[in-house]
Symmetry: C2
Amino acid sequence: MTTKNTTESKEGKYPSELRQDIITGHWVVIATGRAKRPDEFVSPCEVAVSGSDPFENPEESGQEPDVLIYRQNDNDWSLRVFPNKYPAFVHGRTPKEIGEGPYYAKTGVGYHEVVVTRDPVHSIAEMEVWRVAEIIDAYQERYLALMNKKSVSYIQIFHNHGREAGASLSHPHSQLMAIPVVPSELVVDLEGSKRYFQAHRQNVFDVILEHELKTKKRIVFENEHFVVFCPYASRSAFEVWVMPKRDNAYFERITDEEKFSCGEALKVALASLFKGLENPAYNFFIHTAPCDGQEYKHFRWHIEIVPRTTVWAGFELSTGIEVSTIEPEIAAPFLRSQID
Amino acid sequence: MTTKNTTESKEGKYPSELRQDIITGHWVVIATGRAKRPDEFVSPCEVAVSGSDPFENPEESGQEPDVLIYRQNDNDWSLRVFPNKYPAFVHGRTPKEIGEGPYYAKTGVGYHEVVVTRDPVHSIAEMEVWRVAEIIDAYQERYLALMNKKSVSYIQIFHNHGREAGASLSHPHSQLMAIPVVPSELVVDLEGSKRYFQAHRQNVFDVILEHELKTKKRIVFENEHFVVFCPYASRSAFEVWVMPKRDNAYFERITDEEKFSCGEALKVALASLFKGLENPAYNFFIHTAPCDGQEYKHFRWHIEIVPRTTVWAGFELSTGIEVSTIEPEIAAPFLRSQID
């Protein structure tokens, strides 16, 4: 085992810190007494290989017709969006209450789409920035197309990379699920940021960015419109957030200029993980305001990247308190040093 | 891929259901359109093997002195509890506020212990019932010893089995962490059950047990004092709860008679998973009332067993909504059929 003993280190650090997420109030444990070096987290992901690539020739593999196609020339496509062949949410049905006894349930009415880039091998970490900006453009276009549909309360955009992160196909793709409820993780974010606003009359995301840009301890990258940093109360080792500088709760209101800036920030973040941890498995996802017509001025949309280098065990599952064995103040400079 | 298409099945089921947890209000998706058969979840766990077993000869492997020892005869021990050699929480220090700028943190003051059974190989699923009752006895004894310590707000008891569930040692052991905060997962349980009580003037756990015992659709096992069932809004495939029949929020108030009954229920539940899914990885944990002196009569302590046969991906991480591809109404009779 590579864990150290529990005495205080020479730097006077404590064996563990309970850090509280400033937005949600959740606790995490940064177990510095069990701390590892950044390179001990190197863990190349297992590539998810299916028999054949269903996105290589979508027409022949039985995909449904695409709902969006971007072409770079007349002959070939660069990005396409398909309805998911095995959707977790299905449109075209009337939502129906199907509870049982004291329990409540409804049919899973919604939309489930797949955003596919042309290259079957290279992930976002290895793409040119304009291609990443194109992905974000597609996210926005599909978001706008679905946000006003009946019974859509929230649209979750996410990306799985590597088998450990739940990817079942190796061809890089993102997913978009338009669902009839506002998920609990979002509710916690929204309520927490509202509580902060009411208590301090300040947007908590402004407070975070101001502090991070001042101390620079956890900054990985910054460009004109975005800041990339490891959050103070990181739930996972090497967790990275991509946060817009502009006060905007709604992802779908991203501007063309911001899209390019966001594409660069996301690419640099993923490339630093790719290089530093040798292509680890990860998920990233967008947290944005619900599409329920309410006002969320205390909130700000952002991207969260969660590398899957460790396994959550019983303590995490039972308490919701994640134990991380590297401080974000160590993770961030390590990732920064991986940027070309 | 083994997933089916999205049309309605012959039974008239919907491709997916959004089920709401009656206690917490959280949503899960039961994706019957992607449904698998129970035997498709068979996944023997990877045994976590360390170089040598630190619990075989604790005196020689540098364990700290045990805080509890049970012997079956004069020569050998059957169960011991050690302070964890690599604790996530450490006692003997004054809690200290160590926030930074707008962020809040405190030192990880608490207790972290390991409950070790003598047999280095056989897990609870394979033990005689009296040995499982002995484990529960040890949980209680250590709980009682720590619950009144200064700065202990909650005691989390949990067990990791298999590498996929975060176990780093193959020798079966449980862990107990006494921590200075009430974790968010518990807060959600406590607030939800209180809300239910205020709205319905009924204990939600009574409501659940009454409905489950009436319909019997999700019952796996029942004995004098406990009911084993797959919850209606299961967050994971083959999730199983072990619930006391007696209205009691406090695990530490379990009686001797209940301990044996609980040991049998836990053993039967784990044995049905062991046989049906061929020794899968799992976590189990106790949810009980905080030890903060407040009253929690709307709550009931219980054990949750979470098999780790699937990987949570970006949708689960981002929304907190787990997608399960088997209905608890299919999982429960399958597990029931595995009982000798």
